[in-house]
Subunit: 205 residues, 2 copies
């Protein structure tokens, strides 16, 4: 974590930039829940005073918004990549699934927080709406792949989409960087999702 | 919900049996969190007094234990069924995966509560230990299927097991009885898990 100690300050009085403050805040939000976190909790976790925190941000909700914007931004960026626009729908879907796993691993606490949003504040409702927008993009791809005849006909695309993204989201429950290589995780998810859903796999067993 | 109103009582003063009390308590535990639920909350949700609740149980933790015992009991019962002991390991695994989906749908609030246990009380630690025991049974089956050469060789069985059960557990986030037929849900999960992991599916795409 990029915490720069300023010379001459008492030990333990770290000076934070906004990115480091955000990283600590997200950890506290995940541990205590956003509603259960006070500015005092954030001051304690960072070791800086509330007024130092207010030097960076106007409110606790602004921290939440920055955190959720980071994970949503990373997820939506994937939909703009070449791989998400190249080839058949099922290939674009495979690409998207794999890249979402990579984003999840790279932005683990931010995506974890995003998945816990329940809609109690305006910021959370905004994040839920953005998540629904992302889901619509994915569902569109699944429907297109089904229309191309590339999905197994015995599986309902909407249920399959929920299950595959439920599988991906569940990674936040156990994944810790370093324990499993991201590349292997991505490969395994794509293998299960892709061969599990693709038409070619039907009737093998 | 089997709430029998006793004749002559004031309206709204329902008389509860233990099963109905438990059902209401589980809903409140899920909504407020177990730690955040007081006996007052349970009295309010049931419409009966705290002393009426204490007529059935000794403590809030006893309600939690009964609830977790119900979901764990249903899950472990599956491991005793014929289908969990018949055929090759991969067939037994398919059977177990399908039956766990059915148990999840049939005991939705109880399994949802089980998945939220974090280990703050002795009862929660007991439930976590039982969950680990169940996971060991599943991992044993996955390892056996891998040993039989029935799993795709390019996928790590331990990661695959986490992903498949992550997918199953994620069902509690969105499934509501009646919106999707249990049988279709079970079929879809088994299709994704089975063809996604089975050796026969390798190399198709």
């Amino acid at each position: 974590m990029a915490v720069a100690k300023a010379g001459g300050r008492p030990p333990g009085r770290a000076q934070y930039d906004l990115a480091s403050l955000l990283a600590v805040a997200v950890d506290v939000f995940i541990e205590r829940g956003y509603d259960g976190t006070s500015m005092e909790d954030l001051a304690r976790a960072t070791g800086i005073t509330k007024s130092s925190i207010y030097h960076h941000i106007d409110s606790k909700e602004q921290l939440l918004r920055l955190a959720l914007d980071r994970s949503l931004g990373a997820l939506f960026a994937v939909t703009e990549e070449d791989g998400a626009h190249t080839g058949r729908a099922i290939e674009r879907l495979d690409y998207l699934v794999g890249r979402v796993v990579e984003v999840l691993a790279a932005e683990l606490p931010y995506v974890t927080l995003l998945l816990r949003v329940r809609g109690n504040t305006e910021t959370e409702r905004w994040a839920l709406e953005r998540r629904r927008e992302f889901d619509r993009i994915v569902r569109g791809l699944v429907a297109e792949a089904a229309g191309d005849g590339d999905l197994r006909p015995d599986v309902d695309p909407a249920i399959a989409e929920r299950l595959v993204f439920g599988m991906i989201n569940s990674i936040t429950e156990w994944y810790r960087p370093g324990r499993v290589e991201v590349d292997e995780l991505r490969r395994t998810v794509v293998a299960i999702a892709s061969t599990g859903l693709a038409k070619a796999a039907t009737g093998d067993r």
